[in-house]
Amino acid sequence: MIDNPVIFYSASVFIILFALLSLFAKNVVYSLLSSIVVFFFGALFFYVLGSEYNAIIQAAIYGFAVPVLIGLSIMFGGGKTNSKKKHSLFWYLPLFAGIFILAFVYLLMMSLVIMPDTFNASDVLQVNAFDTIRTFARALFVDYVWAFELVSLLLTIVIAGLGMLRVTKHRGLRNSRGGEK
């Protein structure tokens, strides 16, 4: 675990700021981009907490795969937003941003005053990665093997279900076209 106030406070400020931005941005694409930043900062938190494996999984799935899915659905939707009503909270966003930036600068200065040699690279290297992977493997394939198999089954069912939905929808369309003729 990396016990570093500068990393923690800067990551906290950015993750909260981008989470707010992802909700109250007018354009959906901006909101998607902000959410990617949020997920990457989440991965950074996992890494700081000493869980490299979770950080890699989070960055791979939520940083790359999930945004691709959401981006595809935005493309299918034509990128239009029909909700034209502006949220009043959107106008408070610069205020939130200012408060967070001020808090960030204050905390950065405080942490530099209290701990001058804050970042130490040897902390990163001291993480016992091999032991963590062994522990993970034992937990996944021995202690939680039933949960692991259930999640695998769930994933298979979802893939089959989506395929079935797609096939049924195509058949329904073909039948309706045949009825029209």
């Binding site: 675990m1 016990d3 570093n4 923690f8 906290s12 993750i15 909260i16 989470a19 707010l20 992802s22 909700l23 109250f24 959906v28 909101s31 998607l32 959410s35 949020v38 989440g42 938190f45 996992f46 907490l49 869980s51 494996y53 979770n54 999984i57 989070q58 939520y62 795969a65 999930v66 899915l69 959401i70 595809l72 659905s73 935005i74 939707g77 239009k80 937003t81 029909n82 909700s83 949220h87 909270l89 405080m110 942490s111 209290i114 701990m115 522990t135 993970f136 937990a139 996944l140 202690d143 939680y144 949960a147 692991f148 999640v151 769930l154 994933l155 979802v158 279900g161 989506l162 929808k169």
Partner: protein, 101 residues
């Protein structure tokens, strides 16, 4: 200035509250899904925090968070497909128009 467990728990709580606020206030379906994912990220940070600070032997929180990532991705895929089907019918991404199936 030492970073304690409560700092991480507070960040997880803030993320959860932001996601909850977004899922209640925002009308766009995609943004609602993103809000739900942010809520799940807050919960996940709490799991990892408890595993890192309280459980140094078995790492149960790490494993549960791995399962969350798998199930969260599946939930998002299904929700996006449902959104796609609904969008074809309603021609809108406003969640208030999706009240009837």
């Amino acid at each position: 200035m030492e970073i304690t467990m409560y700092h991480y728990l507070f960040i997880g709580l803030l993320l959860f509250l932001i996601g909850l606020l977004g899922s209640i206030l925002v009308k766009n379906v995609i943004k609602v899904l993103i809000s739900i994912e942010i809520m799940l990220l807050g919960i996940n940070i709490n799991f990892i925090t408890f595993a890192a600070f309280c459980d140094n032997i078995r790492f149960d929180g790490y494993i549960i968070s791995l399962f969350y990532v798998g199930i969260g991705a599946v939930e998002l895929a299904v929700a996006l497909y449902l959104f796609y089907l609904m969008y074809q019918k309603k021609e809108s991404d406003n969640i208030e128009k999706f009240s009837d199936l």
